[in-house]
C-alpha cells in the first residue's frame, strides 16, 4: 500500500512538473509571407490575443523572409500552427505530418497584373519581357510559371519580389511588364494603385490559406480547433474577416488539398535545392 502511495505521489509530481513546463512554452504561429512582415503581424494580432487568452500559452506570430524559407522552416517543424497557401499546406501535410484544420471561405485566385495603360494586351505580348513573382515556392508564382508555359510564352526569367504590394508598385511604374499576385492581396491595394493596374488573366479557384497543425500538438487538436472556431464568432474576428475580404472560416473538403500535389512537388524541389 505504502509503495502504491509513493508511486502515485511521484507520478503526481512528474505530471505537475510537466504541466508547468508546458504552460510556460510558446505556441508559434507561422504565417506565410504573402505581404510585409509588419502587416502580417498586425493582421494576426486579434487571433494571437484570443488564443493566448483561450489556450493559456504565450502565442507568437512569426513569418519568414520568403516562401522558400517559410517552407523550409515548416518542414523543419518550426511552427505549431502554420497558415499558408494550399500547396505548402499539402507539402507540410505529406512531408512533415501537419494536420489540415480549416481555411477561409473566400475563394483564392492567382492573377497576372499589368499596367492599365501599358502595352501588354494579350499573353503573347509578354514574350521576352520582365515578369515578377513572389518567390519560387509561392503558389501564385508557380501558377504563373505554369500559365506562361501553357501559353508557350518565353518571358525573361521571373524576378522575385518580397511582397505582393511591391509587385503591384513595380508593375504600375513600368519596372516590369507583368506580375503574379493573389486576388486577395490585389484587393488590399490602395484604390489609386489598383486603378493603375488591370488583370491579364485570373486563375481558377484554388485552395487558399490553410491552417495546418503540427502533429506534436495532436493531443491538443480538439482544444485548438475549438479555439479557432470560437475566435471566428468574436467581433474582432468578424472585423478581420471583413477587412481582408476572407468571409470567415470553413472546413476543408475531403481531399481538397490533393489537387495541390503538383505545386507541392515543385515546392519540394525548390526546398531541396533542385530548382533555383
Amino acid at each position: 500500500m505504502k509503495k502504491l502511495i509513493r508511486i502515485c505521489c511521484i507520478a503526481a509530481i512528474v505530471l505537475a512538473f510537466n504541466m508547468t513546463a508546458f504552460a510556460a512554452e510558446t505556441f508559434v504561429i507561422g504565417v506565410a509571407p504573402h505581404t510585409s512582415a509588419r502587416v502580417i503581424l498586425e493582421m494576426y494580432q486579434p487571433l494571437r490575443r484570443y488564443l493566448e487568452k483561450t489556450l493559456g500559452y504565450t502565442v507568437d506570430i512569426v513569418t519568414a523572409p520568403d516562401f522558400n524559407e517559410f517552407a523550409r522552416r515548416g518542414l523543419a517543424q518550426d511552427y505549431d500552427l502554420a497558415v499558408t497557401t494550399g500547396h505548402q499546406a499539402r507539402l507540410f501535410q505529406t512531408d512533415a505530418g501537419y494536420i489540415p484544420l480549416l481555411t477561409y471561405k473566400a475563394d483564392f485566385k492567382a492573377v497576372a497584373i499589368v499596367a492599365a495603360k501599358g502595352p501588354i494586351k494579350k499573353p503573347s505580348d509578354l514574350k521576352n519581357k520582365k515578369v515578377l513573382g513572389l518567390s519560387s515556392a509561392s503558389l501564385v508564382t508557380l501558377w504563373g510559371q505554369h500559365w506562361l508555359e501553357y501559353n508557350g510564352i518565353r518571358s525573361l526569367p521571373i524576378k522575385y519580389v518580397s511582397a505582393s504590394d511591391s509587385v503591384a508598385q513595380l508593375v504600375a511604374v513600368g519596372e516590369a511588364a507583368a506580375g503574379f499576385t493573389s486576388l486577395a492581396n490585389f484587393q488590399k491595394l490602395s484604390p489609386e494603385l489598383r486603378g493603375q493596374l488591370r488583370f491579364l488573366v485570373e486563375s481558377r479557384v484554388m485552395a487558399g490559406r490553410v491552417y495546418v497543425l503540427n502533429s506534436r500538438r495532436t493531443s491538443e487538436r480538439k482544444k485548438i480547433d475549438a479555439a479557432l472556431w470560437s475566435f471566428a464568432t468574436t467581433p474582432e474576428a468578424k472585423k478581420y474577416f471583413e477587412a481582408n475580404k476572407l468571409g470567415g472560416y470553413r472546413k476543408l473538403k475531403t481531399k481538397e488539398l490533393n489537387s495541390m500535389d503538383r505545386y507541392a512537388a515543385e515546392t519540394r524541389k525548390v526546398v531541396q535545392g533542385k530548382v533555383r
Partner: protein, 165 residues
C-alpha cells in the same frame, strides 16, 4: 613677535578673509559648473539614446518578425559603425540572445542606468538602456544598448582640472 603683530594687523586679516571668501566662491563656482555640466551631459546621453532606440527598433522589427537573424545581426553591426555605441544586443522574451554586437556571449547584460549619480559619474563610462521591441502589441524582443560616455567624462574632467587650475 613680528608674526603676532602681523596677525594683529587689520590689513592682513582682511586680506586673509578676502582670500578665504574667494576660495569658497571658486569652489562653489566649479561645483555648480560641474553640476550643470552633469545635468546637461546626462540629458544629452539620455536624448542620444532616445534618438537612437526608435530608429534601431524600426530597423529590427521586420527581421525579427521574419526570424531573419542574419539581418538582425547586420543591423546591429552597422549601428556600431560609429564609436558612440559600446554594445547593442537583441534578446527574446525568454532571454535568448538573437543578435549581439560588442557584447560577449554568455556575459550577463547590465541593468538600465535609470539616472546617473553625480559622484559615480567620473567612474561611469557607459549609459545602459533597455527598450522592448513591440509591433502591434506583440513583443518581438528587447533591445539592450550601451552608450559610450568617455567623451562626457573627459569633458567633465577637463572642466574640473582647468576650472580649478
Amino acid at each position: 613677535m613680528k608674526r603676532l603683530s602681523l596677525w594683529h594687523s587689520i590689513r592682513v586679516r582682511l586680506l586673509l578673509l578676502a582670500i578665504g571668501v574667494e576660495l569658497v566662491m571658486l569652489t562653489l563656482l566649479v561645483a555648480n559648473s560641474l553640476r550643470l555640466l552633469h545635468v546637461a551631459m546626462t540629458d544629452q546621453a539620455r536624448w542620444q539614446v532616445q534618438q537612437m532606440m526608435p530608429v534601431l527598433n524600426a530597423a529590427l522589427k521586420a527581421p525579427l518578425a521574419q526570424r531573419d537573424f542574419a539581418t538582425v545581426q547586420a543591423v546591429l553591426d552597422e549601428s556600431r559603425a560609429t564609436e558612440g555605441i559600446d554594445y547593442v544586443v537583441v534578446d527574446d522574451h525568454e532571454g535568448r540572445t538573437l543578435g549581439a554586437s560588442g557584447w560577449q556571449a554568455g556575459q550577463k547584460l547590465p541593468e538600465p542606468s535609470r539616472k546617473l549619480p553625480p559622484l559615480s559619474f567620473s567612474t561611469m563610462q557607459r549609459y545602459d538602456e533597455i527598450l522592448p521591441i513591440v509591433q502591434s502589441g506583440q513583443q518581438l524582443g528587447n533591445l539592450h544598448l550601451g552608450l559610450n560616455l568617455s567623451r562626457i567624462v573627459s569633458a567633465r574632467r577637463m572642466l574640473l582640472t582647468q576650472g580649478g587650475g
